[in-house]
């Protein structure tokens, strides 16, 4: 009896989440799949069933493979470098000095900024004629309109935007590295980079794996910054 009461309480607590989750995530997934099996236009009264025809169309469309390749390139550019930046920031913040909290807030600030604000901000930085970046470098470099450079430009923005989030995870992991192991390594003569690579990195490996996996997922879904900054151009 008591057991059942507990289960009921648990379900009641889960209910709000489950209702929202199934309404706004589970149902749309299945509904989206259902739509994908039809020739669907939102204004049409009827939607003929076409089976897997839409999927066949996508596979034949060379824009689909272009989009896949571009996304893969974006993931390659942002995830390893982005994690390196986050880790370096975390290592830096893990030292003891004054004003640590302020730095932490500053580095984390971009993460809480919405994509549209970030994109508009960087559009001004990247602007060829009037951009701050070109002013500082004294050049007229087409950051966003040169097809070869637009991807690195977007990657820089995305790394800046997201680095703070992973930094926090790395910082927590660094704090959890056992002090005695670090001391033991020091006594054995392992200092600096040696100690970092042999003791710290293996100790925070779970955090690294987590950040890479989440990073790959997030980067594969990139949309906002490219849409606002370049509208999908130049040259797709």
């Amino acid at each position: 009896m008591k057991q059942r009461r507990h289960t009921l309480t648990a379900w009641l607590f889960l209910m709000p989440f489950l209702i929202l989750f199934s309404t706004f995530t589970v149902f749309p997934i299945f509904y989206g799949f259902w739509i994908s099996l039809h020739r669907w236009h939102v204004l049409d009264q009827t939607a003929p069933f076409v089976g897997l025809g839409n999927y066949g169309n996508v596979l034949q469309d060379d824009l689909f493979s272009i989009a896949l390749a571009r996304t893969a390139l974006f993931v390659l550019l942002t995830v390893p470098l982005g994690n390196l930046v986050s880790l370096l920031m975390a290592v830096g913040l893990n030292q003891r000095y004054r004003g640590q909290a302020i730095y932490r807030v500053c580095f984390y600030l971009p993460v809480v900024t919405s994509v549209s604000v970030v994109a508009v901000l960087w559009r001004w930085l990247y602007s060829t004629e009037f951009g701050l970046l070109n002013l500082l470098l004294g050049v007229k470099f087409p950051w966003l309109s040169n097809p070869n450079w637009v991807m690195p430009s977007l990657a820089i923005l995305s790394i800046w935007w997201g680095a703070g989030g992973n930094m926090l995870i790395y910082l927590a992991a660094l704090r959890a590295v056992p002090k005695d192991t670090l001391e033991a390594a020091e006594i054995d003569g392992a200092v600096g980079l040696r100690r970092f690579l042999s003791i710290t990195v293996p100790a925070i490996k779970p955090a690294i794996v987590f950040c890479f996996v989440m990073g790959i997922i997030a980067s594969s879904q990139v949309f906002g910054q490219t849409y606002i900054l370049t509208g999908g151009g130049p040259n797709y």
Partner: protein, 408 residues
């Protein structure tokens, strides 16, 4: 108990949000558009005038920025909540009409004795689909040649160019590099979509063939047009490469002497206090007389009760009859009687743009225009920026356009 109370509150709220009939049989109709710039203020004035002159109808205008406008209109038409009158660009009318979302206006036009003969013939085609009238063109906004009067005077230019040779000779004069290494240009491409299509149209080419069934991109005419654009950049050197240059800002700040933009840019230029500008028809670059143009058309939803339909039509008629007010805000009216009025002839910029009305060219009235347009733009952009060769870019664009057209 409490749940019931909350439920009751929600019910009252929902009921309160629904529109109620106004005092003494007033019909309230909604009017949507995307005029989020200075044109919105002009339209607001006209709506206010209408409401004052027609006490039995109350128009409520809602401005939704163009970026999200069509999504909202589409959803409104599909799931209810569509406005009673809404603006569609001429190039989007066939798409909405083909899905049965728009009301036919032919009967209303016949009954209210709107005279087709009073409309500019080239513009009357906008809003037609499958031999039916689904939207009434309110205005027409062609490209025109804006030029900087001060730069012209300094370079000793007395009149705007009309032919290709005159254009190149004119553009050469103000083009120079100053002592600080800052470039000043005779001409610049602003929006490649409208500028590029004007070049294509003037060489007898375009996005689609006349029957709207195939791509017309991969043709010798398109190549000729694009080659001329490249020549202006690379051989004559009177125009910067479009890549990475904000040409319109350059014109506004007096670093570009000529640019081809729509009449709707006029009010923005008027706010630029130290800019002394004028306008002229777009020069003749190729063998065909043509200039890119669009129109704002007034449409009504297919599902609408007759009382609202009548009121909506009365409002549409009013807008058309009073489009001189709309013209003042930076538009070209499409009624010959208004174009001939002294009031319009006194608008120096609009008057120049209106000289092109006999040969304005709309984007193809294809049901799938919105899907194919991007492929044409990408090809033009890739060619003039030397990212791809013309033959490769045009072949790719044609293939993609035809693919979309071939879908059932």
């Amino acid at each position: 108990m409490r749940v019931t109370a909350i439920f009751a509150c929600v019910c009252i709220l929902i009921a309160g949000c629904q529109d109620r009939p106004g005092p003494s049989g007033t019909v309230e109709i909604s009017f949507w558009n995307g005029f989020s710039g200075p044109d919105g203020a002009t339209m607001e004035e006209i709506v206010k005038d209408f409401n004052r002159e027609n006490p039995r109808i109350r128009v409520k205008m809602e401005i939704i920025p163009w970026a999200t406008y069509y999504d909202k209109v589409t959803l409104g038409l599909a799931f209810g909540g569509a406005p009673d009158v809404f603006v569609l660009h001429a190039n989007r009318v066939p798409e909405f009409a083909s899905h049965g979302a728009l009301a036919r206006q032919d009967d209303l036009i016949r009954r209210s004795k709107i005279d087709e003969g009073d409309f500019v013939p080239q513009v009357w085609k906008a809003g037609l689909w499958d031999e039916g009238r689904y939207a009434l063109p309110l205005d027409v906004h062609p490209l025109g040649l804006y030029y900087n009067v001060d730069l012209f005077r300094k370079a000793g230019i007395t009149s705007p160019p009309r032919t290709l040779d005159e254009f190149i000779a004119t553009a050469r004069k103000p083009t120079r590099t100053d002592e600080r290494g800052e470039k000043q240009w005779g001409f610049a491409f602003t929006w490649l979509h409208s500028n590029g299509l004007t070049f294509l149209n003037q060489f007898g080419s375009g996005l689609l063939t006349d029957d709207l069934k195939r791509s017309a991109m991969d043709t010798p005419e398109t190549k000729q047009a694009l080659n001329l654009m490249l020549r202006l950049i690379e051989v004559e050197k009177v125009c910067p490469r479009p890549e990475g240059s904000d040409a319109w800002l350059g014109f506004q700040t007096g670093r570009v002497a000529m640019a081809m933009e729509g009449i709707y840019m006029k009010s923005g230029l008027d706010n630029q206090k130290d800019l002394n500008y004028a306008a002229a028809p777009v020069p003749q670059f190729g063998p065909v007389k043509a200039v890119w143009a669009g129109s704002h058309c007034l449409a009504m939803p297919a599902k609408q009760d007759s009382k609202r339909r009548q009121a909506a039509w009365q409002f549409i008629r009013y807008l058309s009859d009073h489009s001189i007010k709309w013209a003042k805000g930076g538009q070209i009216p499409v009624r010959k009687s208004i174009l001939a009025s002294k009031e319009f002839k006194d608008m120096p910029i609009q008057r120049e743009f209106a000289k092109q009305l006999d040969y304005v060219r709309y984007e193809p009235f294809s049901v799938r225009f919105n899907q194919i347009s991007v492929f044409g733009d990408a090809a033009i952009e890739a060619v003039v920026n030397r990212v791809e060769s013309a033959s490769k870019a045009l072949r790719t664009a044609s293939r993609r356009i035809n693919r979309v057209l071939d879908q059932p």
